[in-house]
Symmetry: C2
Subunit: 241 residues, 2 copies
């Protein structure tokens, strides 16, 4: 009998935001797989490190490229597709031997996560289970204590890569918003927030649920320097409460 | 020294989806408060029931009305405002005595949760902490194993109360969507999905992370009968993967 592929959400960063189910799964799994950039430690692994028993079989899945090649270039897509195919083949080999393979994922496995590339490649052939996790964005608005959406609010998640015009239109069209993966896009995001009348509500959050979290009203941030994993929150509900 | 108000997310329903931090907080809190409709058991309390030590001091916060009065009538707003004011006063009394009051919340406290009505009333005067939880929607797409959003997807959460035209427009304008609080709105939601070309992707989920979960492609659902806490998922990423 073949094994089971398990996508395990380990939450936004604070090791205590692991669920009881994720913890049990880590203890029961035969193999624990985690994504990382080649040469870097896995963030998901760091979150669960204290719970990994000695002798745990680990399977690091090391991205061959991340930001060196622009995402829409064929070379990037090819390299990434080959990488996921290879990961899926390695995991399939474990599954064929009846092993439970837990792929640990920051945040929630099926919400903007790399795990889903494995899931779509393997879920047709093998048993799968998803253990949802606390999302990175929940970690961020909780760190700030900002009620994000309520009642009949329309809430939207936007990638910072959208054009300024698109961002402006979508901010104006939603009650509440989260802009993800800010990185080098902060100046543009700031302008779009200003033009849609949302700048005064916007909150900048860097390294949401770590002890080095930096949060401030975006209007107070003096520069446009932001790491890739920073977000901007635009709480909706406060306007009408 | 006054106490602390803690909003504790207890996840979407499965007691194992409680985080380690939520569990520790429940054990350390002096008072555990939970919302429920008068005469009904609290869903949040049911999720954590097995972890409540004998002798735990509980503070049930019982809604005087829920769906008996339409939400936009002044009588509803007045009754609800008076209710939250009363809850805040009772909790403030505990906080003044230096107690830690944990308000347990299904899902995530600041994402469409009742807790935020207490937070806004008390966070100016007392220390507060938010413990994020796995959201109900994460529980739902994980139960189904449906990768919901990826890469540069625009993801939107829509209340089912929107008009058919608004739903149609917003479905067409997003890559991925979750429609919450379906209840008596399923027929309308179905039509809007059809008109925006999203019906074939839509998944109906009832009681997401309970053992009685019902999930099916919406096109397979033969009637338009749905409980209030059912959702419709429209995964985005699968189209382009």
């Amino acid at each position: 009998m073949s094994g089971k592929l398990i996508g395990v959400g380990v939450g936004p960063g604070d090791p205590e935001l692991l669920t009881l189910k994720a913890l049990r799964t880590l203890r029961e799994a035969d193999v624990i797989a985690h994504f990382a950039k080649a040469g870097r430690a896995s963030n998901a692994r760091a979150i669960v490190a204290e719970h990994l028993a000695p002798g745990t079989v680990e399977l690091p899945l090391l991205f061959p490229v991340t930001t060196e090649i622009p995402k829409h270039e064929p070379a990037y897509c090819q390299a990434i597709d080959r990488f996921y195919d290879g990961c899926a083949a390695t995991i399939a080999d474990h599954l064929e031997r009846g092993r439970q393979v837990a792929v640990i994922c920051e945040g929630d496995p099926l919400f903007y996560g790399s795990y889903m590339h494995l899931h779509t490649r393997l879920s047709g052939r093998y048993r799968t289970e998803i253990i949802p996790g606390v999302s990175a964005m929940s970690g961020c608005w909780s760190a700030v204590g900002a009620p994000i959406a309520q009642g009949d609010d329309v809430f939207v998640v936007l990638p910072a890569t959208l054009s300024e015009q698109e961002l402006e239109r979508r901010f104006a069209d939603a009650d509440a918003a989260v802009v993800m993966k800010i990185g080098r896009h902060l100046e543009k995001v700031r302008r779009a927030l200003g033009r849609s009348g949302r700048l005064s509500r916007a909150i900048y959050v860097e390294r949401g649920t770590t002890t080095e979290a930096v949060t401030m009203p975006l209007e107070m941030k003096r520069d446009d320097i932001a790491p890739y994993f920073s977000v901007v929150l635009v709480p909706g509900w406060q306007e009408r409460s």
